[in-house]
Amino acid sequence: MIKARTFFFFVAPSLLMMLVFIAGPLVSVLIQSFQQTQNVFETVEQQKCDPFGCKTTTVTRPIFDEEGKAITQTKWVGWENYRVVLNLAGVRAALASPEGKLKSLLAIDFWGALRFTLTFTLVTLPLVLLVGLILALSVNSLNEGLRGGVIFVTLLPFIITPVIGALAIRWLFVGDGIVTAGLEHLLKQDIAFFAQGWTIELLMLFYRVWHVAPFAFVIFYAALQTVEGEKLEAAKVDGASRWQTLRYVILPHLMPLMVFVSLIHLMDSYRVFDEIVGFNAQAFRQSLQWLTFDFLTPDDAGNRSIGRASATAMLTMIGIFFLLIPLLRNTWQERQR
């Protein structure tokens, strides 16, 4: 076994990186979420004279320092950022309104993003598992010679840059893209995939399954190679049908890996972001991570809303911890064994 001193010597650079660049930012985000940084303004009286006499007006303008940079001031604002992001007044108004409670609630950015993120995560999960499983079982019973090529093609959607993958699918559907044109030809009516939210959402779900199913496939396929032949033979001798063999021998063998793929998928799809960019969906659908990104992007005046971004980021993290609990419990139990 490695000595404690040597251990820390080896681990130090990596640990330092993670502490400074992951733990550090988390703490500073927490602090920032209670602050607001604004330009400092001054009020000056200006005299304007024209032929009919002089008028005095008061103007508010930002103060600049010697280098011409606007002087900013960071204030402690308590829960203000959270209140703005969650828009509690809007929520109360939405709940009090006689009709369309849910609709007006989801029109608020944060709640709409939360709804989309959760739907996205929960709908793609079973689809990814199912498609991955079907593919793994199918490829596993293909001739040996064909498998390499099939795996090669299957890996492409998984390896491809997510934004580019989303764009590639978008180009098939956007405007008179080839698939839209085909559907219009078949159905004899105009179809616009990017004019309303639900079709874009459907495409984003499709994209994610297309992108992640290969990952599930590879894991399941590798596991299928390790099913013991004896067990299958025993099942055959006992007169199990093909379906029963699948149900009682193969699926239990794959179970731990299904759990693994689910946990990874939940973590990753909760952070859904690239789809929004690739499908240019932000006018109709936003995700939690996209909200933070949006607050961080400079607006027309070049200002970033760091405080609100931090508040959104902290709210997003609450969900992460719920997702992490099963994973951490798993690791802990393995440690105990």
């Binding site: 650079p13 990596s14 992951i22 199918s138 934004v163 032949g229 952070r271 961080l296 690791t331």
Partner: protein, 369 residues
């Protein structure tokens, strides 16, 4: 025996063929279509009739293109080269090919692939002199134009973004692996509770949304003038990548028996020497696999690069989105498509070369926990 056990009825075999075939089309069609469109003039590329998009009649009239003969010859050559490539390990082992010759083999394949285009064209031309201009074999019917690629790479200066991406990815891969192997080795060889907690915390860190982390970096980075610097993005991506890197490398180190380093220690090495001279030489497969995944994380990143880089230092993926911010004409869109195809090409090569390593990397994490 296995064969008999798993003999499937015809109906089931057909179903499986259908499923796999259907999936292959869905998997590759969006990417293939991207490439097809990128070589056509706008009027062909955005036609509603798929055959017109594939053939590009207007492109072939105005710019030119491949004849049927050329296309068949090129495809046959490429297929043959691919077969050679797929069996490369068999040949290398059989004839005991050294590294130098292997590289020559790859370069030769590449040269042949590139040469096949002008060569096939030449054959088609000569045939057309023989047969006359207007026959279906040698008439250009597959319209092709490289003008969008030319516009993207040279006029719009996409090569700058390509260089930026290369610098960022190379930086990320080398730094990640250096500090990652050290840490992963120690974590694999220790069963103290410290090691356990570090791994557990790394797992939590892996789940952090990247936008949250960038929210933490932005104010200090702007303050210290690091905003827009490639080195800032490299450091950030290395840190974000560390949890994944040490988990994956650790599972590779676990496969190397600890008795090996014990032996080196008995022979008078210290830990660092044992690590460098005994363990690392047999760790290369694991290092390459982990390096591939680090490369992909850096190469595919949009969020961090888009927020921390600007102007001259911008990388390829954020740059492609800027094609949509201006008033987009059809030509602009096709340039974006050509840029997208350019970004995808290295990824395609990566899978071609490292399919086995990618699969092993994916399963390694899963099977070993």
């Amino acid at each position: 025996m296995r064969q008999k056990l798993f003999a499937l009825p015809l109906s089931l075999r057909l179903t499986i063929w259908l499923i796999v075939g259907f999936w292959l089309i869905i998997a590759i069609f969006p990417l293939l279509w991207l490439v097809v469109m990128s070589f056509k003039l706008p009027i062909d590329a955005f036609d509603a009739n798929p055959f017109k998009v594939i053939l590009g009649p207007i492109t072939s009239q105005t710019v030119g293109g491949f004849s049927l003969i050329t296309l068949v010859l090129v495809l046959m050559t490429l297929y043959g080269l691919l077969q050679l490539f797929a069996r490369r390990e068999f040949y290398f082992a059989r004839f005991q090919v050294g590294l130098g010759l292997q590289i020559i083999f790859y370069l030769g394949l590449l040269a042949l692939a590139m040469l096949s285009f002008p060569l096939a064209n030449f054959i088609s031309q000569s045939l057309s002199n023989l047969l006359g201009d207007n026959n279906f074999l040698t008439k250009p019917i597959f319209g092709l134009t490289g003008q969008h690629y030319h516009a993207v790479w040279f006029e719009n200066g996409f090569y700058k973004q390509f260089l930026n991406t290369m610098m960022v990815t190379l930086g990320v891969v080398s730094i990640s692996l250096t500090i990652g192997t050290l840490a992963a080795y120690a974590l694999a060889r220790s069963n103290s509770s410290w090691a356990f907690w570090i791994l557990l915390v790394a797992l939590v860190f892996r789940a952090m949304p990247h936008s949250t982390l960038v929210t933490g970096y932005l104010p200090p980075f702007i303050e210290w003038g690091l905003y827009g610097k490639r080195i800032a993005v490299i450091i950030v991506l290395v840190a974000i990548n560390q949890p994944f890197t040490i988990w994956m490398l650790r599972s590779f180190f676990m496969n190397i028996p600890a008795s090996l380093d014990e032996a080196a220690l008995v022979d008078g090495c210290n830990r660092l020497q044992a690590f460098r001279q005994v363990i690392m030489p047999i760790m290369w497969p694991g290092v390459i696999t982990t390096g591939l995944f680090s490369f992909m994380l850096a190469y595919n990143d949009y969020l961090v690069s888009a927020l921390l880089l600007d102007g001259e230092s911008r990388t390829m993926v954020p740059a492609i989105m800027s094609y949509f911010n201006r008033e987009t004409t059809l030509t602009d869109q096709l340039e974006a498509i050509a840029a997208a195809a350019s970004i995808t090409f290295p990824i395609f090569l990566l899978v071609l070369f490292f399919q086995k390593q990618i699969v092993s990397g994916l399963t390694q994490g899963a099977v070993k926990g």
